[in-house]
Amino acid sequence: MKKTRTLELKNKLGMHARAAASFVKVAQKFQSRIYLERNGQTVDGSSILDILTLGCPYGGKLTVKAEGIDAALAIDELEKLIENKFGEE
């Protein structure tokens, strides 16, 4: 199963260290492989360094892709995380 969703970063600091850490932690809960895409660059969603180097700022658009049996679940939960501004504000 493949799922794709494009989301906007609403937390003030963008995809900074703490946010990236929360993202990786959630992504790793699932069997599906998670990818993040921004401006044509795709990175591994379980690599905190890759995510950080995407340099996604506040208001930036980010495409989340999940591939695997729990892809739908994974993408829902990651969307929730991003929508909730990583629980920061």
């Binding site: 003030k12 600091l13 963008g14 995809m15 900074h16 260290a17 703490r18 990236a20 850490a21 990786v24 932690k25 591994d44 379980s46 690599s47 905190i48 360094l49 890759d50 950080l52 180097t53 340099g55 700022p57 629980g87 920061e88 504000e89």
Partner: protein, 595 residues
């Protein structure tokens, strides 16, 4: 080594961030030992072993970080925990470890070399990130690499202090929370670091342990070697390496004086600030960090008169959560020795730059978008703090103080948001939120002085912030050294303003405190006593002496001193008069050098 001719004395000047004098042996703390071996593996058969060695160092590093995290959690230090989280995730990052393993395999280099190449790679990638904040996070990768390198070298991780039997002076580039978590703090006499400022971790730790510390010395790590004799003068912001005998003697003498004086004065700290004619003044303490509370109590603070909360924002890279606020406020309000805590809502902007809140450059930040103005604009950030304050007020008495008030509208708006925050908490079912909290206005803008009678109708107390009030009313940029001579608390205009604020407050039957530096200036005590301020709040070291002077004063006499002081036309006349008065009246307290 015999009588060592190569020993040279170095005197370095830095920023004293924790007062006192420490004399002891240097311990050079270096998170990354500079002697890293780089070599090619002799033949390919050694590769699997090298990979294993790397993997083991990764595992060991992770275990240590988890350990440190547990310790910090126990100590309820929440801020650095997430940083450690990030470090653990980097350690577990497959792309990071696979890249290193690949270097070992493809190029037959040792793990240290491979790791170095991985770091170089990430340094390059991070440099390409446009966002400044994110690109600076390469420091996290560096930190992780350093830790792995340390494990590869097989170094012991509990830092053992075998140098000086009587404790050591830690000399380092900088000290991180994780570093201190591994140190035996009771073996440390003082700190000296290359980098850092008043809010750096070293400074916070030193103040909380009441150990002398000097930071920002630039290159103390270049001059000081382990086992060198070192003097740290945290009061003057100086470090001496290998002092010559006479100098050492002078400093030992100085240290005795300092220690004796503080012990002697602590006695007065425990007594109440009551004049001979039974007029009582409440003595508060200004703090920036919860770590300062124990010192505040031992020096005789009766309450926290000013808790500056902006440092919650500055000592970190992202915005503090409601719980981050709450955890700090809990510690401020639950100390049984303190009657209450006045929490000032954050004064961001101005001279205190926060990394978290990127702001557009202002030509005149002191008069810019800061303090209450900023809060009324960034309502969400403001509410996060207000909610935490309400929650903490269930555990102990809190007075809330709004900074930089210049109009009645600001007070009304701030109060409205404050009560909205309360309503939200109630609707969310949070229990024990009190019905009201005392609200105060900081009086530090001249317009607030002029309309003090109107402001007094809106709030429960005033707190006069003399630092800004002087700066704004005399139009002196505090940061401008060429104008420093004009900064004068005893300027007739300043005295009149303070007087009119106190009178307006008392007429409206509300209390008035002072929390600027002036409140802790011994010379100003008679004048301030004469004003009948209800509370003086100051840094903890000033408390014992101020209490002593108050106990030897009388209200009646101070009133006449004030009356006379208000008759002069110039600041220098006021100063000369006050000085001659205190020199005669308190000869022990004001000797010649106290000018």
């Amino acid at each position: 080594m015999s009588a060592d001719q190569t020993t040279k004395t170095f005197v370095l000047k830095g920023l004293g961030v924790s007062p006192g004098i420490a004399i002891g042996r240097c311990y050079r703390f270096d998170p990354l030992d500079s002697q890293i071996p780089f070599y090619k593996l002799k033949d390919k058969s050694l590769i699997p072993k090298e990979v294993l060695r790397f993997r083991k160092a990764l595992k060991d590093s992770e275990k240590q970080l988890l350990d440190i995290q547990r310790k910090l959690k126990k100590a309820k230090i929440t801020e650095p925990i997430y940083v450690i989280d990030v470090h653990i995730l980097i350690l577990k990052d497959k792309l990071f470890s696979n890249r290193t393993v690949k270097y070992i395999r493809d190029q037959s280099v040792n793990a240290e070399w491979a790791l170095r190449m991985t770091l170089d790679h990430y340094q390059q990638v991070f440099e390409g990130v446009l966002d400044d904040y994110i690109s600076s996070r390469v420091s996290d990768v560096q930190y992780v690499v350093q830790r792995i390198l340390r494990n590869l070298s097989g170094e012991k991780h509990e830092i053992v202090w075998e140098v000086g039997n009587n404790g050591v002076i830690v000399v380092s580039q900088d000290i991180s929370p994780a570093d201190t978590a591994q140190m035996k703090l009771d073996k440390i006499l003082g700190f000296a670091t290359d980098t850092g400022g008043r809010t750096s971790h070293t400074a916070i730790v030193a103040r909380s342990l009441e150990l002398p510390a000097v930071v920002g010395l630039d290159d103390v790590t270049r001059f000081a070697r382990t086992d060198d004799e070192v003097i740290v003068d945290g009061t003057a912001g100086m470090v001496v390496i290998n002092p010559y005998p006479d100098m050492l003697k002078r400093y030992e003498e100085k240290k005795r004086h300092y220690d004796a004086a503080s012990d002697e004065y602590l006695k007065f700290g425990r007594q109440a600030a009551v004049t001979r004619d039974h007029h009582r003044v409440q003595i508060g303490c200004n703090i920036e960090f919860v770590e300062e509370i124990p010192s505040a109590v031992t020096h005789g603070a009766e309450n926290i008169g000013l808790y500056r909360t902006e440092f919650l924002f500055i000592y970190r890279d992202d915005l503090p959560t409601e719980d981050d606020h709450f955890n700090n406020y809990c510690q401020v309000v639950t100390d049984k020795n303190l009657a209450w805590a006045t929490i000032r809502t954050f004064d961001l902007g101005g001279d205190k730059f926060s990394h978290a809140q990127k702001q557009t450059k202002e030509l005149n930040p002191q008069m810019g978008m800061r303090a209450i103005r900023f809060c009324l604009k960034e309502v969400d950030m403001f509410k996060t703090q207000l909610r935490a304050i309400w929650r903490a007020s269930a555990l102990g008495k809190i007075k809330i103080l709004f900074p930089m008030i210049s109009s009645v509208e600001e007070v009304r708006q701030a109060k409205k948001i404050m009560y909205e925050a309360r309503q939200e908490l109630i609707e969310e079912g949070i229990k024990n939120i009190p019905g009201k909290m005392e609200v105060g206005a900081m009086i530090e803008v001249p317009s607030a002085v002029v309309i003090a009678d109107k402001l007094a109708q809106e709030v429960d107390f005033f707190s006069i912030g003399t630092n800004d009030l002087i700066q704004y009313s005399l139009a002196i940029d505090r940061a401008n050294e060429r104008l420093a001579y004009m900064y004068e608390p005893l300027h007739p205009a300043v005295l009149r303003m303070i007087k009119s604020v106190v009178d307006a407050a008392h007429k409206a039957k509300i209390e008035v405190a002072m929390c600027g530096e002036m409140a802790g200036d011994p010379l100003c005590v008679p004048v301030l006593l004469g004003m009948e301020l209800n509370e003086l709040s100051m840094n903890h070291l000033a408390i014992p002496r101020i209490k002593k002077i108050i106990r030897e004063s009388s209200l009646e006499e101070s009133k006449s001193v004030l009356k006379k002081a208000l008759t002069f036309s110039t600041a220098s006349e006021v100063r000369a008069f006050v000085h001659s008065y205190v020199a005669k009246r308190f000869p022990d307290e004001f000797c010649a050098e106290d000018d």
